[in-house]
């Protein structure tokens, strides 16, 4: 056997790419999980087309899954891959421009034939030359289809089933390339396919053969080794997607508050996984109504809230537009409600599977009347748990709708999540009526916080009529009195503003004497952290403020931002948060860095831009 060199890396990015039916998501998930078990930091991101099954081998059907492994904190799924696994020429064509110089491409040589080239639109029979990458990369050709067929020969599977296992061959090969023992992958497969022993057996066989194929490759390819991370706090971890974390944050909040959880929902990409997670949790007593439309999704949740549940609805941009009027009802009726918007590319149907931050102004202002609501945003996949929990806590304790913004990038992406226990989570104390309260009205409220007291149907002595018409501040009866309306508008506004007293202050990463303050919000957090920490390591003085609470803003926002000479707001829209900040901090000149391509930032492009601002 040839001597194979072993390169130790601080972090590495691997992208799996193939037809949407090639099982790339599963392969990527298994690889990232087993790397995490071996002590690596991980961050992943799936990138799939909106077509469920586009014609095989064509550019439109290419689906990908990227994994970033690190021996220290990784903030993002990485920019360009060090290793690219492609199952056909189309996948090569789509991804070629991203591969790093000196990177490795593993490809299924069986699909690199005339018909494959034609489907991918190659003009010659040497795609690597045609793409002008043949000199800068290392190639590992592996006839995956043939090898998988050989591996399963005589086991009685039909050809279709056999070929569906070739992703396991690729996984075995990758495990070899990264010096990963395959035991852990076998353990995962056993959990997944335990009830189908023949499929399990086939997958393990192909996986093992893939690993051995790599081991016996007489190629001078460098294999990789990523040391375990020592920065990660000790504890039990799992890998979790933002959507799953959001669902579980709601469950945790309902358990903590001692309330039943209700979700009213209508399927919409990329938010539907939240419903899938919750409807599976009947063991936790979660009630999910798959409604007839987006409006019924939120209005059934408002009904459940009226009846005393922790109620939520989940959606994406077009659905949020449909829910606007109902959010106004929750504002007017002062009922707790969590609205989750997993943002995607817009307007209209837009780019359903792609990420964007273009719903911020809709969340803040997209309603009739003076209609203040709490707006928050989660920054990373695992963060979604915390902010879904906090959104619920604020909704219940302050009797208001809370809009939680996540996005396709963090919703579908995964990161490591340190497992919580219920005991360590903060208390949730809804603002219930007190049993000894006399003369309760629907508008009775805490004078300091302006929070209305919640009386839930079924309790004697507190029956009341709520609704969307303006109410008299004192009696709760419907009222069109001009001064009363002003008072009620002011009260609802003051109630939301008061919340700035209970949310954490804004924290700035980096020192207060930095030459540049980078501002972001929500799901761009990882890329901004990467870029800023890389610049700081190189001796530049850059600080970062990442916002999770947007309305109300943290109390110290104005004071902190005004300390910096140069401030740039980076967002995946045309400048919505910058516009909002200008209205709140008029003394500061906000520069903008924007991208609206349906894709996350890359840390590299951010870093390059910040360098120009530092000059």
């Amino acid at each position: 056997m040839d001597k194979v060199t072993k390169t130790e890396l601080d972090n590495v990015v691997v992208r799996f790419s193939g037809d949407s039916g090639d099982g790339m998501q599963l392969t990527g998930t298994l690889f990232s999980n087993l790397s995490a078990i071996l002590g690596n930091e991980i961050s992943t991101f799936p990138d799939f087309p909106s077509e469920i099954r586009a014609p095989q081998g064509t550019l439109g059907g290419v689906s990908g899954f990227q994994v970033h492994l690190g021996s220290s904190k990784v903030y993002t799924p990485g920019d360009d891959p060090d290793v690219l696994v492609v199952m056909n020429p189309a996948a090569l064509k789509v991804n070629a421009k991203f591969i790093k110089k000196g990177g490795v491409i593993i490809f299924d040589a069986d699909t690199f034939d005339k018909s494959g080239f034609e489907k991918a639109g190659f003009k010659t029979e040497n795609p690597f030359e045609e793409l002008n990458i043949s000199d800068t990369i290392q190639l590992i050709p592996a006839p995956l289809s043939t090898l998988t067929q050989a591996s399963l020969d005589g086991m009685g599977f039909d050809n279709k089933t056999v070929l569906r296992s070739k992703n396991m061959f690729a996984l075995g090969l990758i495990c070899w390339l990264f010096n990963r023992p395959i035991d852990q992958a076998i353990h995962f497969l056993t959990n997944k396919f335990g009830k189908k022993p023949t499929i399990l057996h086939a997958n393990i066989k192909v996986l093992t053969d893939g690993f051995n194929f790599g081991n016996n490759l007489h190629l001078t390819v460098s294999t990789y080794f990523v040391e375990r991370s020592h920065e990660t706090p000790k504890g039990k971890y799992t890998s979790i997607s933002g959507n799953k974390a959001t669902a579980w944050g709601l469950i945790a909040a309902s358990q903590k508050a001692g309330l039943q959880l209700f979700l009213g929902s209508y399927p919409i990409t990329p938010a539907t996984d939240i419903m899938h997670e919750l409807t599976a949790r009947k063991d936790m007593g979660v009630k999910v109504v798959q409604a007839e439309d987006e409006i019924a999704g939120i209005t059934s949740a408002i009904g459940a809230s009226f009846a005393g549940s922790l109620a939520a609805t989940n959606t994406s941009g077009p659905g949020l537009a449909l829910k606007s009027e109902a959010i106004g009802l929750a504002v007017m009726a002062e009922l707790p409600l969590v609205v989750i918007d997993v943002m995607r590319g817009g307007p209209s149907t837009g780019l359903p599977t792609k990420t964007e931050q273009t719903d911020l102004l809709q969340a803040l202002y997209g309603r009739n009347g003076e209609s203040p609501a709490v707006v928050m945003a989660a920054g990373t996949p695992d963060d979604c748990f915390h902010y879904a929990f906090m959104a619920s806590k604020i909704a219940l304790e302050h009797m208001t709708p809370v809009i939680l913004l996540t996005d396709a990038f963090i919703g579908n992406g995964t990161s490591l999540w340190k497992l919580p226990t219920l005991a360590e989570l903060p208390e949730i104390k809804p603002n219930y009526v007190k049993p000894d309260m006399t003369d309760y009205k629907v508008t009775s409220r805490d004078e300091k916080t302006n929070v209305r007291y919640w009386s839930v149907p079924g309790v004697e002595g507190f029956a009341h009529r709520n609704g969307g018409l303006e109410k008299d501040y004192y009696t709760g009866a419907i009222s069109t009195d001009p001064e009363n309306h002003q008072k009620m508008v002011d009260t609802r506004e003051a109630k939301i503003n008061y919340i700035s007293n209970v949310i954490p202050e804004l924290k700035i990463e980096g020192d207060s004497s930095a030459d540049l303050l980078v501002i972001g919000w929500g799901g761009t957090q990882g890329h901004l952290m990467s870029a800023v920490s890389s610049l700081n390591k190189k001796g530049n003085k850059v600080a970062l403020a990442n916002f999770n609470y947007i309305n109300p803003l943290p109390k110290n926002t104005v004071e902190l931002i005004q300390q910096y000479k140069k401030v740039v707001v980076c967002e995946l829209n045309s400048g919505q948060f910058a516009t909002f900040l200008r209205s709140k901090v008029p003394a500061v000149e906000f520069l903008q860095y924007n991208k609206v391509q349906g894709q996350p930032f890359t840390a590299t492009e951010l870093e390059e831009h910040f360098v120009t601002l530092l000059k």
Binding site: N33, A36, I37, F188, N191, S229, T232, K234, G235, K236, Y237, T238, W248, I251, Q255, Q260, F262, G264, R281, K282, D283, M284, G285, K287, V289, A291, E292, I295, A296, T299, S300, A301, I302, G303, A304, S305, F306, A307, G308, S309, A311, E325, A326, G328, L329, L416, L419, T421, L422, P457, G458, E460, G461, A463, H464, R465, N466, G467, G468, A477
Partner: protein, 341 residues
């Protein structure tokens, strides 16, 4: 008086009245439905605080303000979806949905058919005056074709919905009909709807004195009402008329009015009403009868037993929880694939 026995509290209609002044126009048919509802609520013996009245927008949707129970006056058309959330969240509440022909069948049409399809255990009072009252007189989805309104100065060119047809098309398990001026039938029908397990759709034919006065006048006329309507009761002969001698029989696939004692027709020939029959054919025929040839059907036309959505949700949760090893949040977390770092 003190008693050691637990007795069922006897309520009166007054116990279900709120302190709010009722702001409907004098002579509005809605008053009759409100008082019939309050009488039924009292007779049901369910406490006001165990009752939730949910409405959308429109004249009739003001009703929750006039009852002493928990109430929620929401947004246009969404009453059915909000009532769905209330009932699923707390199935122990008795839930009423108050809606009108515009609220329920135009802007709220989608929510209406789906709550009926799911068989939510809610009681729907559908106030049908065939007009938009609160916005001052536009035609509604139930306005008769050709009718002149503010939004149809040359007469509507639209074909109206027939609520019974829509309800049964959505696989409704209960359909009843009442007329504002017939309190006895109104109370009987509302009571039957309240006792029905599932969505009870009760079409309340109400008069709008301002914008559509006399829409139901033909059947409301006291002296002719007995001849122009038939009050259906399960298990009873379909007999009606001032003299109690008219009846319904089947001729071929159609219903026909006959007179007992004429042409050899005897009482034995008259159909017996079966509200519990799953097949909708005859129920539809009855519900869609129109004058002047046929009487308009009142009372309980359809009342079929089927599991309600909210009961099915409870049952499924109980079943999963009985089997599941996961009882707490911490156990749920423990069930995840996890590793030490």
């Amino acid at each position: 008086m003190e008693t050691t026995e637990t007795i069922k509290i006897q309520y009166t209609a007054k116990d279900f009245k709120s302190d709010q002044y009722v702001r409907w126009c004098p002579g509005c048919g809605d008053f009759a439905v409100l008082s019939s509802l309050q009488k039924v609520m009292a007779d049901l013996g369910i406490a006001p605080h165990k009752t939730a009245v949910i409405s959308g927008i429109g004249c009739s949707s003001r009703l929750p303000y006039y009852t002493s129970s928990y109430g929620f006056h929401t947004i246009h058309g969404r009453g059915a979806a909000i009532a769905t959330g209330v009932k699923v969240a707390n199935p122990e509440l008795t839930v009423w949905q108050i809606t009108g022909d515009g609220d329920c069948l135009a802007i709220g049409g989608n929510h209406f058919i789906h709550s009926v399809r799911r068989n939510m255990d809610i009681n729907v009072l559908l106030f049908n005056n065939q007009i938009y009252g609160l916005t001052k007189g536009q035609y509604s989805p139930t306005t008769k074709k050709g009718f002149v309104t503010k939004s149809s100065p040359f007469g509507t060119v639209e074909r109206p919905f027939r609520p019974a047809e829509l309800t049964m098309g959505a696989r409704g398990t209960f359909f009843g009909r009442l007329l504002d001026v017939d309190l006895k039938t109104a109370q009987m029908t509302i009571m039957a709807g309240a006792k029905h397990n599932g969505t009870s759709v009760i079409e309340c034919l109400v008069n709008c004195v301002i914008f559509n006065d006399g829409a139901h006048g033909w059947l409301a006329e006291r002296e002719n009402r007995a001849d122009r309507t038939i009050v259906l009761e399960h298990g009873k002969k379909m007999i009606f008329g001032k003299d109690g001698n008219k009846g319904l029989v089947l001729k071929g696939l159609n219903l026909k009015v006959v007179t007992i004692g004429e042409n050899g027709v005897t009482e034995n020939d008259i159909l017996v009403h079966d509200a519990t029959c799953e097949d909708t054919t005859l129920h539809l025929k009855l519900a869609l009868m129109e004058g002047p040839e046929m009487p308009i059907a009142m009372g309980v036309i359809r009342d079929v037993v089927e599991e309600s959505y909210d009961a099915a949700v409870e049952a499924q949760i109980a079943e999963v929880q009985a089997k599941s090893k996961i009882k707490t949040f911490d156990e749920l977390i423990d069930s995840l694939e996890q590793w030490e770092m």
